[in-house]
Amino acid sequence: MVGSVIEKRSLGDVLDIMGTVRSAIEGVIEGKRGSIDMAMVVLLAEGHLLLEDVPGVGKTMLAKALGRSIASTVRRIQFTPDLLPSDVTGVSVYNQGTGAFEFKPGGIFANIVVGDEINRASPKTQSAMLESMEERQVTVDGVTHKLATPFMVIATQNPIEMEGTYPLPEAQRDRFMARIEMGYPTVAAEIEMLDNHGSSDPLAALRPVTDADTIHSLILAVRGVYVAPAVKKYLIDIVTATRQSRDLRLGASPRASLQLLRAGRAKAALSGRDYVLPDDIADLAVNVLAHRTLPSTEAQLSRRSVAEIITKAVQSVPVPDKR
């Protein structure tokens, strides 16, 4: 879709441009810096984001704000049990005027796709969506359609209402780079929200601060962030620790390693560094690994959360102190 030549950008630009994006989003969502940063990390690392939390904490708002702050195509798909795969991917329609089948693109043809309440759709629709997330292309009636670049799916999931939902299987969840839980805002942030949002819709006032091509160039720049062999080893040690942990029935996959590495690069770039620190890896470990692993029965019985188990696994791995 993007035919224009991508301008080459440096890591300094990452810091500047994403700084403006962050402040734009912060104008809409108060006191959620961690979630915003995580969303930007996922954007720059070419991943997809799973937002999981109770209703009304701003999941959709975050997704929309991120999309709006970038001059790009943003589509939103509200997942319902009767949503069909073709609604997502698109459908070939017979055009009587031309006498030929014509492809009508579905909701997924956009730079940023907001999939609301993804666990309400039927497994069939879910898998159509998730396949295209991984492949970054859609094949309908034998014709392959490339998706936009940058392409990022921000799916939200409501853990409270279980009635009539189809929880994502592990394999599907593995396709999301990171999962974040928004959490309730602090008292001060909530008061500020009441002041700002009481009268007007802040989203309407949000103007794009950058565009899709710029983001694409930043993604290319992030790929050049240096990862020292010792840090790679540290990352693998952490992933291995999740596989060997007695508290986890299912450890992190090699795809998880890869995505953790990418996320680490993006996080380093967002901090203005051209090299990844063990700190970056350790900080991302819970968000990137937790939704891909399954706790053992004993861990569930002793009420240990997966986040705790992964934090423990990270702490058990010695930090590399040699080059």
Partner: protein, 771 residues
């Protein structure tokens, strides 16, 4: 209750009951009260010091000062009030020391000895406390407690009763129990109440009882069954632990003094009897081809015991002699025979068989110099009639005085047989020998004689020259008595001297040797075969018409004994008071030099870790070949400085560590310098390129000085002397050496695939994450 409280309660119990082990040593238990008071005060000081967050070393210093203050205040009691306390303390301690050295257990009350016993208990308690609390090695407190037990065990030289042993063991268990409670609290700190209840103090009690009871029973039972060490095992250790005492041959002094041209006054004495008295130094009980010699003796301390061969006071009765020695150096104390008690200052022991009184302290060769002392003695003056019928006895512990060497020259044996033909009574045989030696062919002369007492010398004396001095006469008679079957030995000492007013003056020419013979019921009896020097004792002279002498009055020993033939000083003998450094002074200086060297060595040993640490810091902050190297060294130095402050080095990434370390630094330093150092470390480790490290040295210096200033020096004095970084490095090294390499990773361990029949696997994931 804090851990420190428990440890000091345990140690106090050990100290309070441990002091009881010294009770058998003294009849005065008053040392217990000040020691109990001080133990309580010192324990409270430790507990309060902990509350005030003082360094342990400081607390120990305060405790030592408190103990010293108590010693001073105890010394305030006795002694004249107008003398300063320090002038009172030293003599008091010295007299206490002498008291302990001279009296037998249980010793009578003495203020100095009381202070010394108090200090022993308190010091050993303090050592136990330092081991248990400051050094955190409660098990090592066995050493001071055992020392407390061994003091009476060694001093009494008999079996110490079981109670002392139990007292020490109970004290030791109290300390271990306190430590056990502390460990228990440490491990169960965060457990909920009921899980801690299952262990806790009751468990420790039970464990203590289960372990201690069988051990104690086994120790006591085994102690009763197994052969124990004889008390005499300690004999060689007794005199200040300096090993066996080498006894000087008194004959050397004798010859030296007699040959000296000028006669010098060596001592004087007053006595409660009209007659003067022989003052004996030593005896030579062993006879062999080389002559008369000392035997090995087992020394005893304390009051003199019984007189060999005499069950009760002899007819001569008791004598009190006040002796004043000016410049006469000897390790033997001059005393009339048979001494019953003496009060010379210094360390003196005695040989129960010969009643020689021998110095055992340091510098014992000069122990008699300047002594003023009183000797109470029995005068052994046998009744002639009784003596003439006395049988030959066997002196207890002196069987060597009966031994007749097989290689005695035949002419001497023949002479003895000839002299004693027809004489039955042993005493009469001896009298015949004495009479023979005092008869015509024999003459007294110091000059012509060799001074030797070998068979050859005595044969020459008896059959050829007939000239000699007291040594020849005495040894010849003793030898002849042996041949006749009478136990004999040669005594060396002084003649009674010259009377001047009520004082008797004894000169160097009064030095003398005489034989002592043993008779059953009479003990050791003095004979006097040397003519011209002294008149024979009345009991040794046979009256012309009587088989034995029965004198009604005691003949006065001749005062003209020291008539000196033309003796000239044959050698240039230097008197001890001559100019220049004497032996004693030289040995004192040598001791001081050795002490200084040992002190310097200990100081050096104490300073070594600190100096090593300083050198390490300097070399680390110095120039490095590689910027990466200099960054790594700088970080290592930050770590070690942190460890030296007594903190733990946190785990984690450099940033996480800096978060912890930065809390101890002033804000500016933490934000600029520390983060600069951390950034350099991160770049060095994890980045492709390392930026310029020019500013690193300055930043590291700021961090290090900030850290050094974060704790006052007195709070980290222990870590200055023993830097924590060095002990940390040692621990790391030890861990590396002792841990085995990790087992190889197993393939199936790394990829655990959940089985499909696992119930939780089939459960919807959403359900499993919501509770």
């Amino acid at each position: 209750m804090r851990p420190v409280d428990r440890i000091w309660i345990g140690t106090s119990v050990a100290g309070l009951i441990g002091g009881l082990t010294l009770l058998p040593l003294t009849s005065d238990a008053s040392y217990l009260y000040p020691s109990w008071l001080l133990i309580a005060v010192l324990s409270v000081a430790a507990v309060v010091g902990d509350r005030l967050r003082l360094a342990k070393v400081i607390v120990n210093g305060i405790q030592i000062l408190l103990a010293a203050a108590l010693a001073v205040s105890l010394a305030m009691g006795p002694g004249p009030a107008d003398v300063a306390w320090y002038a009172r303390l030293v003599p008091l301690l010295r007299s206490g020391y002498d008291h302990i050295q001279t009296s037998a257990a249980p010793m009578p009350p003495d203020p100095g000895a009381q202070i010394i016993l108090t200090l022993i208990v308190v010091l050993l308690f303090l050592v136990a406390g330092i081991l248990a609390d400051t050094l955190e090695r409660p098990a090592w407190t066995l050493a001071p407690l055992l020392a407390l037990y061994l003091i009476p065990a060694i001093a009494l030289r008999t079996d110490v009763n079981v109670v002392s042993f139990l007292v020490v063991v109970i004290g030791y268990l109290a300390i271990l129990f306190a430590d056990g409670l502390n460990s228990d609290r440490r491990w169960t700190r965060n457990l909920s109440h009921d899980s801690a209840m299952s262990r806790g103090s009751r468990g420790i009690w039970r464990l203590s009882v289960v372990v201690a009871t069988p051990t104690l029973i086994a120790a006591i039972v085994l102690g009763l069954i197994l052969p124990t060490l004889s008390p005499t095992f300690f004999t060689s250790l007794r005199p200040n632990g300096t090993g066996p005492i080498e006894m000087v041959d008194p004959q050397l002094d004798l010859r030296k003094n007699l040959e000296q041209g000028t006669s010098r006054e060596v001592l004087s004495y007053t006595t409660n009897k009209a007659t003067g008295t022989y003052l004996r130094l030593a005896t030579l009980p062993v006879l062999n081809a080389e002559g008369w010699a000392q035997s090995q003796v087992t020394l005893k301390q304390g009051g003199l015991g019984s007189v060999p061969g005499l069950a009760s006071a002899p007819s001569g009765g008791s004598r009190i002699t006040n002796v004043q020695i000016d410049d006469f150096a000897s390790m033997y104390l001059p005393a009339p025979y048979a001494p019953r008690a003496q009060n010379a200052t210094g360390e003196w022991s005695y040989d129960p068989a010969s009643l020689m009184i021998i110095a055992t302290g340091a510098n014992r060769a000069r122990a008699t110099v300047g002594q003023r002392y009183t000797v109470e003695s029995w005068d052994v003056e046998p009744n002639g009639a009784a003596l003439s019928t006395a049988k030959v006895g066997v002196p207890e512990g002196q069987s060597m005085t009966l031994e007749i060497p097989a290689d005695i020259p035949t002419p001497i044996v023949q002479l003895v047989n000839q002299l004693t033909t027809g004489v039955e009574a042993p005493a009469l045989k001896a009298a015949a020998m004495q009479a023979y030696l005092r008869s015509t062919p024999f003459s007294y002369s110091v000059q012509g004689a060799s001074g030797k007492t070998s068979y050859d010398a005595i044969s020459t004396f008896l059959f050829q020259t007939h000239t000699g001095y007291c040594v020849q006469y005495a040894s010849a008679m003793a030898l002849m008595a042996r041949i006749a079957g009478i136990p004999s030995r040669v005594a060396v000492g002084f003649l009674p001297g010259t009377q001047s007013g009520d004082r008797w003056l004894v000169t160097s020419h009064d030095m003398h040797a005489w034989p002592e013979l043993y008779f059953e019921g009479q003990g050791w009896v003095r004979f006097e075969p040397t003519p011209a020097v002294a008149v024979p004792p009345p009991w040794t002279v046979v009256a012309p018409n009587q088989p034995s002498a029965a004198p009604s009055t005691v003949a006065e020993p001749s005062v003209s004994a020291s008539t000196q033939p033309t003796a000239q000083a044959t050698q240039d003998h230097q008197s001890p008071s001559a100019v220049g450094i004497t032996d004693a002074e030289a040995s004192r200086i040598r001791t001081e030099i050795i002490l200084a060297i040992v002190g310097a060595f200990i100081l050096l040993l104490l300073l070594t870790p600190m100096v090593a640490r300083r050198l390490l810091r300097r070399s680390r902050l110095g120039p490095a070949s590689d910027p990466h190297e200099s960054v790594a060294r700088a970080w290592l130095e930050v770590r070690d400085t942190w460890l030296d402050l007594g903190h733990r080095w946190p785990q984690g990434t450099p940033r996480q560590i800096a978060d912890v370390v930065g809390q101890r630094l002033p804000g500016g330093v933490a934000e600029t310098s520390l983060s600069g150092v951390v950034s350099a470390v991160e770049q060095s480790r994890y980045s492709e390129h390392l930026e310029d490290v020019e500013g690193l040295r300055r930043q590291v210096d700021a961090v290090l000085s900030g850290l050094d200033a974060s704790r006052p020096w007195y709070r980290r004095i222990g870590h200055i002397i023993v830097p924590g970084s060095l002990t940390y490095a040692a621990r790391q090294w030890w861990r590396r050496v002792t841990t085995r390499p990790a087992p190889e990773e197993l393939g199936e361990e790394t990829t655990r695939v959940p089985s499909t029949d696992d119930e939780s696997y089939r459960r919807p994931v959403g359900a499993s994450t919501i509770r």
